[in-house]
C-alpha cells in the first residue's frame, strides 16, 4: 500500500517525461542535424546523437541556396506593418466601444465579432480578387491588407479599456483634455498588458503565415520566410541535403523561438488570453 503511493506519482512523472521527449524529438533532430557534417552520409542522418565535430557548413549552404536575408526583411516588413496599423485601428475602435455612446453600438459590436468566425484564410479566393482590384497583387501591402482591421484586437482593447477606472479620464477631461489626449496619455499607457498580448499573437500569426502570401506573391523579391522555406525545402529534398534542410528550418524558427524563451510567461499568457483568434 505504502509502495503504491510512491510508485504512482513516479510512474506518472516517467510517462510525462517520455512523452515530452517524444514531443521534443523533431527539434532535437533539427539541432543535431543542422550541425552535422555532410560527409556523415544519409544513412546515419536520423541519429539524435551528436557524435561528430559540429560544423556551420550546412548553414553556409542554406544561406547560399536561399535568399534568407531578403526573406527576413520582407517578413519583418509584413509583421511590423500589420501590427503598426492594427494598433491604431484597434485602439480607436476599442475606445469607441468601451467609452462612447452611440446608436447601434451593440449591433455594430456583433457585426465586428462575426469576423472571428470568418477566419481570413477561409476567404483567400475572394480576397485575392479584391487585392488584385486594389492594385496590391504581388506586393507586401497586399499580404498585409486583410489584417489591418482586427475584430479580435478590437474586442481585446474594449475589454482592456473597460477594466480601467474612469476616474483618471474624468480628471483629465475636467482639465480640458481632448479625447485623443486622454486616449494617448491616460488610457493607452494603462492598456499596455492588452497591447503586448495582442502584439505577441499578431506577430506570431503573421511570422508563421503561409497560404495567403503564397497566393498574393509571385515575384521572388517579395518572398517571405515561409514561402522561401517551402521553396528551399523542395531544393534540399531534391538534393537529399537533410542537414541543409534542418539548418534552413532552424533559421526560420529561431527568431521566434529565442523571443519565446526570453519572454515565456508573457507568451503563454497572451496565447491563453487570445485563444479566440484561433
Amino acid at each position: 500500500m505504502r509502495l503504491d503511493r510512491h510508485v504512482g506519482p513516479a510512474l506518472i512523472a516517467a510517462t510525462v517525461a517520455a512523452i515530452a521527449f517524444v514531443w521534443a524529438t523533431p527539434f532535437l533532430w533539427t539541432l543535431v542535424a543542422a550541425f552535422r557534417p555532410e560527409s556523415a552520409g544519409s544513412a546515419g542522418m536520423a541519429s539524435l546523437l551528436p557524435d561528430f565535430t559540429p560544423t556551420l557548413s550546412n548553414f553556409r549552404l542554406a544561406l547560399e541556396s536561399g535568399d534568407f536575408g531578403l526573406y527576413y526583411l520582407n517578413t519583418i516588413v509584413v509583421v511590423v506593418g500589420v501590427l503598426g496599423v492594427q494598433l491604431v485601428t484597434i485602439s480607436l475602435a476599442g475606445y469607441a466601444f468601451a467609452r462612447l455612446e452611440f446608436p447601434g453600438r451593440d449591433t455594430l459590436f456583433y457585426v465586428f465579432l462575426v469576423q472571428l468566425m470568418l477566419v481570413p484564410s477561409a476567404l483567400i479566393v475572394p480576397n485575392l480578387r479584391t487585392t488584385v482590384d486594389l492594385g496590391l497583387y504581388d506586393t507586401l501591402a497586399g499580404v498585409m491588407a486583410p489584417y489591418f482591421a482586427s475584430a479580435f484586437g478590437t474586442f481585446l482593447m474594449r475589454q482592456t479599456f473597460r477594466g480601467i477606472p474612469r476616474d483618471f479620464e474624468e480628471a483629465a477631461a475636467i482639465d480640458g483634455a481632448p479625447w485623443w489626449a486622454i486616449v494617448w496619455h491616460v488610457l493607452l499607457p494603462m492598456a499596455r498588458p492588452g497591447l503586448i498580448a495582442f502584439a505577441i499573437v499578431s506577430v506570431t500569426a503573421h511570422w508563421n503565415e503561409f497560404l495567403w502570401p503564397l497566393m498574393v506573391i509571385n515575384d521572388p523579391a517579395n518572398h517571405t520566410l515561409t514561402i522561401g522555406l517551402a521553396t528551399f525545402t523542395k531544393g534540399a529534398e531534391g538534393a537529399k541535403e537533410w542537414g541543409v534542410l534542418a539548418a534552413g528550418t532552424l533559421l526560420v524558427m529561431a527568431p521566434l523561438a529565442v523571443v519565446f524563451v526570453a519572454f515565456q510567461r508573457r507568451f503563454v499568457d497572451s496565447f491563453v488570453f487570445s485563444g479566440i483568434k484561433g
Binding site: W29, A43, L92, R129, G163, A230, W242, G275
Partner: protein, 316 residues
Amino acid sequence: MTVDAIITADVLDVPSSPVRTVRRRRPPSWRLAYALLLPSLLGLAAFTYLPVLRVAIDALYVTPHGAGGVARFAGLENFARVLGDPAFRQAALNNLVYAIGTVVPSVVLALLFALAVRRSTRFNAVVRTILFFPSLVPLVAAASLFFFIFLPGVGLLDYYLAKLGVSGPNWIGNTDVALWSIVGLTVWKNAGYYMLFYIAGLQNVPRDHIEAATVDGANALQRLWYVILPALRPTTVFVITIALIHMLTAVDHVVVLTKGGPSNATNLLLFYIFQEAHENFDTGKAAAATVISVAVLLLVSLGSLRGMEAGSRREA
C-alpha cells in the same frame, strides 16, 4: 485571464453612468464614435463582409479560361460541378476524417497534459514549454521537419523503428497511411496549444468541490469524471471550436508535404479551393467550394454558441 474570464467580465459589466458636465463639453459622441470605427469598418468590409457576398455571387457565374473571357450567369452549375467532382468529395470526406481523427486525440491529450503538469513545479514548467513549443513554429517549418521524419528508410521514424525491429509503411506515399501521418503531425503541433486552455480552465475548478468529492470517497477517476470534467465544460466547448476551425483553415502542411496526394488521399477542403483557384484557375469552382466551406465554418461557430448556452443554462 482566459477568454472565458473575459466573456464573464463582459457579461457582468455594469454600464456606469457618465458624468453629465463632462459629456456636455464634448462634441456629439456618436459622430466621433463612427469616425473612430471607420478605419476598422473599412478593413472588415473590404476583407470579410464584402468577400462573403462577392464569393457567393462569383459562385453563380462561370468564367471561361484565359483573358477576355466574359463571365456567364450559370445559376447553381458551379455547385453541381463541385459536388460532382470526385476530388471534392474525396477532399470533403478526408476533411471529416482528418477533423475527427485530429480533434479527438488532440483534445484528450491536451486535457491529460494539463492534468499532468498543472502544478507549477520546475519540472512541469519545462514539460509545458516542450509541449507548447510546436504550436509556435510555422506549420510550414513543421512540415519541412516532418518531411525528413517520414522519409522512407533513412528518416527519423523509420530509423528508430528499425532499431525496434519494426519496418514502417511509406508514411506519406501510401494512400492508406498518408492522411494519418498528416493527422499525427497536426496532433503534435496543436495539442500543446489546447493544453494551455485546460491549464487555465483547471485553475477555475472550485477546489472545495474536489475536496468534497474526495471526502465522499470518490477516487481520482470519479473526481475527474463527475467533478472536474463538468466544470471544464466551457473550456472543452471552446477548445473543440477552435480546433475544428483549425481543421478547416490550415493546410500549409498539405501544400508542403503531399500536395493533396498520393491520388487525393490527403486533399482537404481548403487545399482543394487553393488548387482550383491558384493552379486550375477555375474561379467558379473555387468560389462554390469557398461558399460551402464558409457555411461549414458558420455552422461550427453556431454549434459552439449553442454548446456554451446549454452549458450556462445547466449551471444556472
